[in-house]
């Protein structure tokens, strides 16, 4: 599969009478967005607001962040199996609106949400403070069940991102990058002397508010399978994971997975990056056994020399991570695992809920228990009263002056386990 990814730089977003791109400015028609969202009769009300880098704005509770993209050529459309037909994507050309995102907000449950600060110390911990964010604050109809509310918010974000993405279809990109993965045997023929490297991509799949979808399938129902990396860039994987803001993968993370991009950078030079194995993180231990057996089996079957394994979430997935690591290593395939840590506020406690001597090459996205004080912001998009009740927030953490003392857990993407952040640890 060969995908041309055309990046269109956007430096500003404004409301306008039609949705269009002009001189690096994206104009969005607010009424069009509202009417698109209100087609869903689960939704009572939506506010559409723009947050720009440097604004004294706090966005919370964040559910998902999505990058607008559009297929220009090649089969299928973005978010196959959900927004577009379930066509296999990853070929042809895709345009990306770079520097902009759609952020969904909603108080689906009264705890455990995410924060994006557009300025101040908190902004350094989230990559989304650097984007022009089109925020959708979505209220449900009365008595709507949580899972229906979550689905409505998720779909609203995907539909709006797809609508906005279309503005880039006819625009000449600032930069075009080409990503290509050949069928396995051809790839091995092309680089016979390079080590064959794969990526085991673990997806959060435990249940309500902890789900991920692949081509429209709830990933807790899959057995591990193989994807071309470019399929992910076209939205084959998307997030229904609303819990643990710091280390959940938003849809934006999936679209821009830095492990995939970095492996491509080394492809054909230091390594032969042959593809992705997706797997899940279920609650039932037999599901974990089956899935980790299969990832190890597929690694061996593909003849891999090494893999990177990335995790999503806290606690339960630590066991999937270690099972994958041990079983893949036992097949003679080297592993590097990517995770984050809950090592206590001083960073001195054990980081993971599982461990094994074979997990001897580890990359961390940082310590989610670390404390930060977020100063008050002039404007809040969403609902600030929920900040007191989110992961890592304390009782009374919302101070009288509007500042909040919290753990990094609350900040969307702060300790992301794909490495899409700045935090890490180096052992000397």
């Amino acid at each position: 599969m060969r995908l041309e990814l055309g990046k269109i730089n956007i430096s500003d977003v404004q409301f306008g009478s039609i949705t269009k791109l002009e001189n690096e400015t994206l104009y969005v028609n607010k009424d069009e967005i509202i009417s698109l969202i209100m087609q869903d009769d689960h939704i009572k009300h939506v506010e559409v607001e723009i947050a720009k880098p440097g604004d004294e704005t706090r966005i919370t509770p964040v559910k998902d962040v999505i990058e607008p993209r559009v297929k220009v050529s090649g089969e299928g459309g973005i978010f196959p199996g959900i927004v577009n037909k379930v066509t296999t994507v990853g070929c042809g050309r895709t345009h990306v609106l770079k520097g902009v995102s759609v952020v969904t907000c909603g108080k689906i449950v009264g705890f455990q949400e995410g924060i994006i600060d557009m300025s101040g110390p908190g902004a350094d911990y989230t990559p989304f403070s650097k984007l022009n964010n089109i925020c959708l604050v979505i209220d449900p109809i009365d008595e709507l069940k949580q899972h229906e509310y979550e689905a409505a918010v998720r779909m609203a974000g995907l539909k709006v991102a797809t609508l906005i993405g279309k503005a880039g279809k006819e625009v000449e990109p600032n930069e075009v990058e080409i990503y290509e993965t050949k069928p396995l045997l051809e790839s091995i023929d092309e680089y016979p002397d390079l080590p064959k490297v794969g990526y085991v991509y673990m997806l959060q799949t435990q249940g309500l508010l902890h789900d991920t979808y692949v081509y429209g399938v709830d990933a807790k129902k899959i057995v591990p399978t193989i994807l071309y990396p470019t399929e992910v860039m076209d939205g084959a994987i998307l997030s229904g994971n609303c819990v643990s803001a710091c280390d959940k993968n938003t849809t934006y993370h999936h679209q821009n997975n830095p492990i995939i991009h970095d492996l491509y950078k080394k492809h054909g030079k230091d390594i032969n990056f042959v593809g992705i194995i997706i797997t899940n993180e279920n609650v039932y231990l037999a599901d974990k056994e089956r899935s980790s057996n299969w990832t190890a089996k597929l690694c061996k079957y593909l003849g891999l020399d090494g893999v990177i394994v990335s995790q999503e979430g806290f606690g339960n997935p630590d066991t999937d991570l270690i099972m994958n690591c041990k079983k893949i290593e036992s097949q003679g395939v080297k592993t590097v695992i990517v995770t984050d840590e809950y090592a206590g506020r001083d960073g001195a406690s054990q980081s993971l809920a599982d461990a094994d001597p074979l997990a001897n090459a580890v990359v961390t996205g940082g310590n989610a228990n670390e404390i930060i004080v977020l100063p008050p912001m002039k404007k809040v998009i969403g609902m600030l009263d929920y900040v007191d009740k989110i992961a890592g927030g304390f009782d009374g953490s919302l101070r009288e002056d509007g500042s909040i003392e919290v753990e990094l857990q609350v900040i969307t993407g702060a300790t992301n386990e794909l490495g899409f952040n700045k935090l890490s640890t180096i052992e000397f």
């Binding site: 899972h147 309500l208 902890h210 279920n282 609650v283 039932y284 806290f314 339960n316 304390f394």
Partner: protein, 128 residues
């Protein structure tokens, strides 16, 4: 003899079905559920679900549900390892900050999440 759910979640208790037995630790703590599961595992029951299911932290949600098998002849070493590591993790979180006293609405949200997580495991377990 059937598999057993150990829970302190009233929603899981109210939703009990014929497929599993249930031990309801009414008004007891998250940690108590893990400790009872550990005692059973040391007596020969095997762990069927992960004790740290869900990304909601152990010092946030007061509710936990875990499923173990009926008693087997041999003690399962993997089950012991997972439950012991999980208990250490829970104690680590609680030593930093106790679980807040939540409002009824938020407690119901936590009950629902725990219920849905254990339900996803029950669906996997009982499809055949």
């Amino acid at each position: 003899m059937k598999n057993t759910i150990i829970t302190n979640n009233p929603k899981v208790f109210e939703g009990k079905q014929d497929k599993t037995d249930i031990i309801y630790l009414k008004d007891d703590s998250y940690l108590s559920v893990l400790l009872l599961a550990r005692d059973k595992i040391h007596k020969g029951h095997k762990l069927l679900t992960h004790p740290l299911s869900g990304s909601v932290k152990p010092n946030e949600t007061p509710y936990k549900s875990i499923i173990v098998t009926e008693k087997k002849k041999e003690v399962d070493i993997d089950s012991i390892r997972i439950i012991e590591e999980s208990i250490q993790t829970v104690k680590k979180f609680l030593s930093t900050k106790k679980t807040p006293l939540w409002t009824d609405k938020i407690l119901k949200d936590f009950q629902l999440i725990d219920y849905c997580l254990i339900q996803s495991a029950i669906e996997s377990m009982t499809q055949f």
